[in-house]
């Protein structure tokens, strides 16, 4: 069932379909929140908040674009609100598993370097990079989510990528 039909039926009172809708997008939203906060507990809380906000606004939702964009707009706003309330300090979680051998050590190292590189980006660039490379979104959709023009989004993406390339190139683990 497509998102439009799914939401229409939920709006008509079919709460069972919320299950389908949440499970469909949970991983996507959780991943976004995790990469924004780098903390699995906070990411889980924020993901929950995203879906509760969705439920709160679902009756006023009008399907005139991609639902995924709508959901990511909520997710982005929830993350912004979180940092506004708690400051810009990232509370690293136990997230990355301890290595058992050299291969794993490299993987964890690489993961940490990417994580660090992403966290070094300003939020406006980080959002664009996350949505483009981890969620396969088109620049047009990213512009809609970040509420910026297409040219601004393209420029942020380019600046973010340039910075990432620079940071990653300096490391010799890739």
């Amino acid at each position: 069932m497509g998102d439009k039909k799914l939401i229409k039926q939920i709006q008509q009172g079919n709460s069972d379909l919320l299950d389908v809708l949440i499970r469909k997008y949970y991983k996507d939203i959780y991943s976004f929140c995790f990469r924004k906060t780098v903390n699995s507990n906070i990411a889980a809380d924020l993901t929950q908040e995203v879906f509760l906000k969705l439920v709160h606004y679902i009756h006023s939702y009008v399907h005139d674009g991609k639902f995924k964009n709508y959901l990511f707009t909520i997710a982005r706003n929830v993350c912004i609100d979180y940092y506004r309330k708690n400051g810009d300090v990232i509370q690293f979680s136990e997230g990355l598993d301890a290595p058992a051998n050299d291969e794993n050590l490299t993987k964890v190292e690489q993961s940490e370097i990417v994580m660090q590189a992403l966290n070094d980006l300003p939020d406006i660039q980080k959002d664009v990079v996350l949505l483009r490379f981890y969620h396969d979104m088109k620049v047009r959709d990213i512009a809609e989510i970040t509420q910026t023009s297409l040219s601004t989004t393209k420029s942020r993406l380019k600046q973010g990528l340039d910075k990432l390339k620079k940071i990653i190139s300096e490391e010799d683990v890739f």
Partner: protein, 256 residues
């Protein structure tokens, strides 16, 4: 470094596994929150209209179709009678109050079956429900009348406007009387009185139509005036009927 390589590098940053309990917990909370919000879904007019069609008894469609068939047979047979004009006028005159009459049991059924209080508590108020049903039934009547007008004006030398007026004036008058009865009398008695009045009206108009010269003696201007007057009366009755439903609701709910 190319974009593809950047993407491959970024993919090395994986998100930890999500426990199913987290998803279940979110689903549960969301469902509970949803149930607290209540249904606020605003259906479009088209959705309401289509939704109400299925609540209209299939017998109404069958009776209307059968009535249309009988009228068409009479209209076509009139061609072979020695006084075709008089025969056509009689047919359409008798048919008009009957077309309006067949929908009465459908309109009155909420009251006859004593379900209007239940309908009043549903998603739409009874006023809205009845207004929608009147639109559907009115559209059906207009469809039947249009076919009658088109067939008559095609096969006989009668103007489209005159035929429309000959049908619509008694139709409007009969409908106004039926609505007045429905407004004043509740229960099965209303349907019985409407049926009786309808049959007498059809007979009366039929007798009048025997003197078909009367129809042509009266100028189109007077017919037009009668049409406007009967339409105003019909609209007045419709508004009063819908208003009386609201008053009825208030009265009923305020009873100790």
């Amino acid at each position: 470094m190319k974009d593809k390589k950047v993407k491959n590098t970024l993919e090395k940053y994986r998100v930890p596994q999500i426990p199913n309990s987290l998803i279940d917990n979110t689903v549960g909370l969301a469902k509970r929150a949803f149930e607290r919000t209540g249904i606020k879904y605003e259906m479009s007019f088209r959705e309401i209209l289509v939704g109400q069609i299925k609540y209209i008894s299939p017998s109404l469609w069958v009776i209307q179709a059968a009535l249309l068939f009988i009228i068409l047979v009479f209209l076509l047979v009139s061609n072979s009678t020695h006084n075709a004009y008089q025969s056509v006028i009689t047919t359409i005159s008798v048919a008009s109050p009957i077309i309006a009459l067949v929908v009465i049991p459908e309109l009155a059924k909420s009251f006859n079956h004593h379900v209007w209080e239940m309908e009043s508590t549903c998603k739409f108020d009874l006023q809205k429900l009845l207004a929608i049903r009147l639109i559907i039934i009115g559209a059906l009547d207009m469809f039947v009348i249009t076919i009658m007008v088109v067939i008559t004006s095609t096969f006989y030398e009668l103007s489209f406007i005159n035929i429309s007026l000959y049908i619509l004036v008694p139709f409007n008058m009969a409908s106004s009387i039926y609505l007045y009865i429905l407004r004043r009398i509740r229960g099965k008695a209303a349907t019985i009185i409407c049926l009786t009045v309808g049959i007498f009206m059809a007979l009366g108009v039929g007798l009048l139509a025997v003197y078909s010269e009367l129809y042509t003696l009266i100028s189109t201007f007077i017919w037009m005036t009668m049409f406007i007057f009967s339409t105003v009366v019909l609209v007045y009755e419709l508004i009063h009927m819908l208003k009386s439903l609201q008053e009825g609701e208030k009265l009923e709910w305020n009873l100790p």
